[in-house]
């Protein structure tokens, strides 16, 4: 017997002995409830309403409308050639706002498809417009608010686990949150990141918006798993499946999850929602999905559902929907004007922030390039002027 043996811990077999038969464990053995507070027809159990005051309930509405208006305006300016590409979040407002409403400024947030949560944390629409114009400065501002956008799908999950690891070492009163999509759960990085959080007990909150599609791939073909929530169980992480069209249910679920995560138990939330628009402005969804499906979801609009709730609670009279839309449109106009005012940047920007100090070879490349641009102004005939930012 070596000394090491005492360190080898194999989890004991648990449960009954199987009675000598080969028995299969199946996902179908597990009933997976979907948390819902307000039903699609607007009815709800008053007891289940989360503890939010009237002002907060009205804020939820306002932020959802902000999300919708921002998507609409961004798609419009993209079509005018003022952005590169953009991914609308229309249809996912309840999922996005309900979850983000639980987060505190000291929490970290890495998003996939979600912009308003970053506004809620202090990022500006101007910076978001700059980012989608392909101007790096936008990201500097996001980082100041502990927020980031991950473009390479799933790549941020190990990163978020690492941030949570730091929080764990610091005993921080905060959580690290990764927003991800259904497609991201197929990446290797996602599995490793979630597993690390599970094995070390890190304060990581994985908020997965299952919006039905990874570009053209419907969830049913993305994975053989019945639900994404079930996947978390394999990592020893508890999961919640929530109706992502019900902002109160999402808030309730993520609020509950955040409390648990803060105590060092990572949680995975699957929010079932729908992407009403294309994957991005470069995508044509009519190639891979039926109009009837989209119409069905259009008829189950999350903002409309919440409106029914507000009416029942007698709060709708306090909302002037048109005035809210007007205000947000005005805010967007102002942000766009500010983005348009941004001065043209120097080529040194390309070399900035790659290292703490510019290494000699990079300095040489920059100097050569600056000298070339001066000597051969015809370079600018080839360097198309990009959308102003």
């Amino acid at each position: 017997m070596s000394d090491r043996e005492s360190d080898i811990r194999v989890p004991p077999a648990t449960g009954d002995d199987g009675g000598g038969e080969v028995r299969y464990l199946s996902q179908s053995d597990l009933s997976v409830p979907t948390h819902q507070i307000v039903a699609p027809d607007g009815s709800y159990d008053a007891e289940a309403i989360p503890d939010l005051d009237d002002g907060e309930l009205l804020d939820l509405y306002r932020w959802m409308v902000t999300d919708r208006v921002f998507s609409r305006r961004m798609v419009n300016i993209q079509r005018r050639g003022e952005l590169g590409t953009f991914g609308s979040t229309r249809g996912q407002e309840a999922s996005i706002i309900g979850s983000a409403f639980t987060l505190r400024p000291e929490d970290w947030l890495y998003v996939g498809r979600a912009w308003t949560p970053m506004f809620m944390r202090g990022a500006s629409m101007t910076d978001m417009i700059l980012f989608w114009r392909g101007i790096e400065e936008g990201q500097e501002a996001f980082a100041k608010h502990n927020s980031q956008i991950a473009i390479s799908i799933g790549s941020h999950l190990p990163l978020v686990a690492g941030i949570a690891w730091g929080m764990h070492l610091d005993d921080a009163d905060a959580v690290a949150t990764a927003y991800l999509g259904d497609g991201a759960t197929s990446t290797g990085a996602a599995h490793e990141g979630i597993n690390l959080a599970g094995s070390l007990g890190l304060p990581a909150l994985f908020f997965c918006q299952n919006n039905g599609y990874a570009i053209s791939m419907p969830y049913g073909k993305q994975s053989g798993a019945n639900t994404i929530a079930q996947k978390a169980l394999a990592y020893g992480i508890d999961a919640i499946r929530v109706d992502g069209q019900d902002v109160l249910a999402v808030y309730d679920a993520v609020q509950s999850a955040r409390e648990r995560v803060k105590d060092g138990e990572p949680v995975f939330v699957e929010s079932v929602t729908y992407r009403l628009d294309a994957h991005t402005t470069s995508d044509d969804p009519t190639r891979y999905r039926e109009d009837e499906e989209v119409e069905h979801w259009e008829a189950h609009d999350p903002i409309e559902r919440y409106r029914e709730f507000l009416k029942s609670e007698g709060l709708w009279s306090e909302i002037d929907h048109d005035a809210i839309v007007e205000e947000i449109d005005a805010e967007f106009d102002e942000a766009l004007a500010a983005a348009n005012e941004m001065e043209e940047r120097a080529v040194s920007e390309m070399f900035a922030h790659l290292y703490d100090e510019l290494p000699p070879e990079l300095a040489r490349q920059l100097a050569e390039f600056e000298e070339l641009l001066e000597r051969r102004p015809e370079m600018y005939d080839y360097i198309e002027q990009r959308p102003k930012g």
Partner: protein, 321 residues
């Protein structure tokens, strides 16, 4: 028929799938939607869902899966949607695909193709614009091919699919649709590992490939230089002989590439010229390349890659010494 580069990809896939029923095409969004660039358009309709498959969003599984399928006897042609998404699967290229033949002492091989659009200049997001052929060319056992014309695209992709070893096929997406030329009908093969001389000249050799060919040819024309322009076409294996013979004739050389300069393909070309034609050189070999920085986001990406004036500047520098 007249075709663009992306249509040539599509034509090669159609032709090879028809010829060999072991050819299977898969990747993200390749079937139902026909690929985000439409490179795999109509394949699903023609060959069915067993041979044209939408995969989950899983680059590691796509590349590793292709290697396994190839070992078993199929001819997978996997698509990575953008070259910036290949890095997660780098491990499968290094650890498995490139070494199957070597590891099994020739008993098994991985005759697979990984196709992917590469390069900057289409206003894409972060991780969509990389040109890292130097990194992939560094992997022993992996062939790296970069076409620059529609006819070559069809011929080289055909050769890649038929090749008994793995090929990384990098498609210059910036010129996917900007060049249209006659491509051969039916089967058409261009051998991997042979460079093409695009224009003959006496004064300087200019080596480029992929999306850098059009600006290179424009620079040469614009500068009225008597340049010999070589389209390398294959990064690995590299056609040293064509480059060296040309340099022996001209005595001067410029290498143009979009990827970062440090440890880029240009460095290797300079080394090979030093090995075999040093005494013929009349001036140092010039490199006109991308910078050692990430490709900037779209607002400044056009500053990143070489344009004709920069290429011409490099040519003039090589001629001035």
């Amino acid at each position: 028929m007249q075709a663009t580069i992306v249509q040539a990809v599509n034509d090669a896939l159609h032709t090879e799938m028809e010829r060999d029923d072991r050819v299977v095409v898969f990747g993200e969004d390749v079937a139902e939607s026909g690929g985000v660039f439409r490179a795999t358009d109509e394949l699903l309709e023609e060959f069915g869902s067993k041979r044209v498959v939408d995969t989950p969003l899983s680059e590691i599984a796509i590349v590793g899966g292709a290697a396994g399928m190839a070992m078993y006897g199929y001819r997978p042609v996997a698509e990575i949607q953008f070259s910036g998404f290949l890095p997660p699967a780098f491990d499968q290229l290094v650890t498995n695909a490139s070494r199957i033949r070597w590891r099994t002492r020739g008993e098994l091989s991985a005759p697979m193709v990984v196709r992917m659009p590469y390069g900057a200049g289409v206003r894409a997001l972060e991780h969509h614009s990389e040109s890292l052929e130097g990194a992939y060319g560094h992997i022993p056992g992996l062939q790296v091919v970069v076409p620059s014309t529609p006819a070559d695209t069809k011929g080289l992709l055909t050769a890649a699919i038929r090749d008994p070893d793995p090929v990384l096929f990098m498609e210059p997406k910036r010129i996917y649709r900007s060049i249209r030329e006659e491509i051969p009908e039916g089967e058409h093969e261009v051998p991997i590992g042979e460079a093409a001389i695009r224009s003959e000249g006496e004064d300087v050799t200019v080596v480029a490939w992929g999306a850098m060919m059009p600006p290179t040819l424009e620079a040469v024309e614009h500068g009225s230089v008597d340049a010999e322009v070589i389209d390398l076409r294959s990064i690995s294996p590299m056609d040293t002989e064509t480059v060296v013979e040309s340099v022996k004739k001209t005595g001067r050389c410029v290498v143009v590439h979009e990827g970062p300069r440090t440890l880029g393909v240009g460095s290797e070309i300079v080394a090979r010229i030093n090995d075999e034609a040093l005494m013929y050189l009349e001036s140092p070999v010039e490199r006109v390349t991308g910078f050692d920085t990430p490709v900037p986001l779209l607002s400044m990406e056009d500053f990143y890659f070489p344009h004709p004036p920069r290429i011409l500047d490099g040519i003039e520098a090589a001629l001035s010494d």
